[in-house]
């Protein structure tokens, strides 16, 4: 992983002191909340329903055990003993004191972490495939490019007051695990026919109240042009993105209203002007950043196969966990482990300080000291020898971290909702908990197979409901909470936006409605291998509408 050099250390320390000065001015009243707001946001500090919230950046979701222990320490010392991993591969603390935040940032800086640009109308933390550097289908590791983008976008003098937030995601495999097509810029790292690395560039995707799938504006951008091309896109957006209505201020609206051809023309024209500028990446720099992400030396561990088979035979629960939460690694003697933060009936994405310590210990002892945060709010150990899987499982299991549900119906994404968030209309977490409990039995989940439920407590769509196979959106109607259901969304290489199936459901009826949808799917699938999303794409919404609302029902 990337390690700070002297320059990075000096920068982050200076940033902490800069923010300490701003907080001091805020606490003394020298600076008004209005002017302080963008400054605190660009340092990850939100004002929530009950308290300040601090969002710490975990660049492209990669961290080591030392950093994970620091996150645990912060949860213990400054918060209420837990943190919440987010869909942008970050962690949020829900109860810090504003006056403590500079100290928290100073503690983070000591382990090469920060909270820079995790919020605000600027270029946000860059996300990447959580299986980067380990996945069998990967063309190249996307993280070096994400790191280059992280550095370049940090305290960018031209792009710190954009019309709205700006999110970039990078993937390096044909299978898109970073949902790049619902980002402001999505970069798909690939090789051209000559074997050179470059990017397919997507622009203008996003969720929120106007969900749009990003448009491909460049089929192959040479890697050396990464920063100049992204600069061209952001400059066009900064100058021409709407500023009259914050709900229409994202680049997706600019692309939608101006037209993808015209926006592409403007971007290409700007790019031609700066293509040969100082931002053109020297080959040497790219390769130097790349060396930081060289995979650990993974010794052959062929003995592990037998040990794994033996352990599976002896322990059925382990066998189900290994089947569900371990993915093939590019090295055949290794696997990629998903540590589920979705215990049955629990809060999606939450981890206690003790759990974070356990993950740190396991990573250090048995997983080459590497941990990832996935945008699906789970943790990943990307390199585990098959022969060590049982030991990893046992260590996780005692701390409630071995739920065997990766990719299944209880692996729910949910935003913090009305329990924490000032914007929410509805409580996402209790709904997630009830669905999780209803479908919690391992047999039932296995029978249903891959099914992604995503829940947002308001139209801002932090829970990514638009790309859930089943999406739930909390709305407020006449003072009561109501959940609107969307079907057929997907956030992968075949990205689609879910369709609203009909009138919403009251909180106490929503789990029944999900059950009706699931039973309908089970009844109509051609074979157990036909997943929910495949079946939905084959039959469309009609059978589900009929099951939910009756033959004659009209969509509300």
């Amino acid at each position: 992983m990337y390690r700070y050099d002297e320059f990075d250390h000096a920068f982050v320390s200076a940033r902490v002191e800069q923010f300490r000065d701003q907080v001091t001015r805020r606490l003394s009243g020298e600076i008004a909340e209005d002017a302080f707001r963008p400054l605190r946001l660009m340092n990850g500090v939100y004002l929530q329903l009950h308290a300040y919230m601090l969002r710490v950046a975990i660049p492209y979701g990669t961290l080591n055990s030392k950093q994970m222990r620091m996150l645990a320490h912060i949860a213990r010392r400054y918060d209420r003993g837990y943190g919440h991993f987010t869909t942008r591969q970050n962690i949020q603390y829900n109860w810090p004191k504003l006056s403590d935040t500079p100290d928290i940032l100073a503690e983070l800086a000591s382990v090469e972490m920060h909270a820079i640009q995790t919020s605000g109308n600027c270029i946000r933390n860059v996300t990447a495939d959580h299986f980067a550097g380990a996945a069998a289908d990967e063309v190249a590791d996307p993280r070096p490019y994400a790191e280059i983008l992280r550095q370049w976008s940090s305290v960018h003098p031209e792009f710190s007051f954009l019309p709205r937030k700006f999110k970039i995601a990078v993937t390096g495999a044909p299978r898109d695990r970073a949902a790049i097509q619902v980002h402001d810029i999505g970069l798909h790292l690939k090789k051209n026919e000559a074997g050179e690395l470059g990017f397919a560039v997507y622009v203008g995707g996003g969720q929120g109240r106007t969900p749009l799938v990003a448009k491909l504006i460049r089929d192959f951008l040479p890697e050396e042009d990464l920063l100049t091309y992204v600069t061209a896109i952001v400059r066009v957006y900064n100058l021409h993105g709407r500023r009259d209505n914050k709900y229409k201020a994202r680049i997706k609206i600019l692309v939608h209203e101006t037209g993808v051809e015209e926006v592409t023309r403007q971007v290409e024209a700007e790019f031609q002007q700066i293509r040969e500028s100082e931002l053109k990446l020297p080959e040497g720099d790219i390769r130097a950043i790349e060396t930081y992400f060289a995979p650990p030396a993974l010794p052959d561990r062929a003995d592990g196969w037998e040990a794994l088979a033996r352990a599976k035979k002896a322990d059925g629960a382990f066998a189900s966990w290994a089947a569900q939460n371990v993915q093939p690694h590019r090295h055949p003697d290794y696997g990629m482990v998903t540590i589920s933060l979705k215990p049955i009936g629990g809060t999606p994405g939450d981890a206690s300080d003790v759990q974070m310590e356990v993950v740190a210990d396991v990573a250090e002892r048995l997983a080459f000291d590497e941990i990832r945060v996935s945008h699906e709010q789970n943790l990943i150990l990307p390199h585990v020898a098959l022969g060590d899987l049982y030991a990893v499982y046992q260590a996780l299991e005692t701390s409630g971290l071995a739920t065997a549900n990766a990719g299944l119906i209880t692996d729910i994404i949910a935003c913090p909702g009305l329990d924490y968030c000032a914007l929410a209309n509805a409580r996402s977490i209790p709904v997630a908990q009830e669905i999780s409990t209803r479908f919690g039995s391992p047999e039932r989940q296995a029978e249903i197979g891959e099914l992604k439920i995503k829940i947002s407590g308001c139209i801002n769509a932090c829970g990514h409901h638009h790309v859930g196979h089943i999406g739930l959106l909390g709305v407020e109607k006449k003072g009561a909470e109501l959940y609107q259901i969307t079907l057929g969304g997907s956030g992968d290489e075949n990205t689609s936006i879910g369709e609203i199936i009909g009138r919403g459901f009251e909180p106490e009826r929503v789990t029944d409605a999900i059950e009706t949808i699931v039973d309908t799917y089970l009844g109509l699938r051609l074979e157990p291998k036909e997943t929910f999303i495949d079946a939905y794409r084959r039959v469309g919404p009609k059978p589900f509408k009929e099951a939910l609302y009756g033959q004659t029902a009209e969509a509300a």
Partner: protein, 173 residues
Amino acid sequence: MDKMTKIWNQSGFLDNDTWVIETEEVRAGEGERAIVGLETFLDTVEHSNESGFGVLLRPADDVARLAPHLDRIALVAISFPAFSDGRGFSHATLLRQRLGFTGEVRAVGDVLIDQVPLMLRTGFTSFAVSNPVALARLAENRLPGIAERYQPSAVPSTEAGGFSWRRIGGRGA
């Protein structure tokens, strides 16, 4: 400019600045120099041989329209109707880097202390400041900038070593 507004540049506050942004009500008087809107400027410059103009660039204006007349412009004032409207940062960048303008670029409007270091880096050279905290900080020359930069900008800067995009500077530009 109202009485509370002071002009600052990197050598300090100016007490003899004579630029005046012209509006319906305000006209440059005896010994003062006018800063006029882009349309007025383009109109005037066509019909005169004068130089030393001052032009006001608003967020929605296209900076490229100044290109044919740069040698006749002494000052470009870029307005920030609200500090959160960041278009002015791109205008300044383009004015310096694309058009090669070497005259004075002034930030006017909602100019706050925390934005000044970023403005300096994008090529602003003077600031019309009325915010009391900004005035106090500038008087003490306490700029809240960061010396380590991860990107080149419109202002010539020293390479920091390490990677090609890094630069090093002072607390300001």
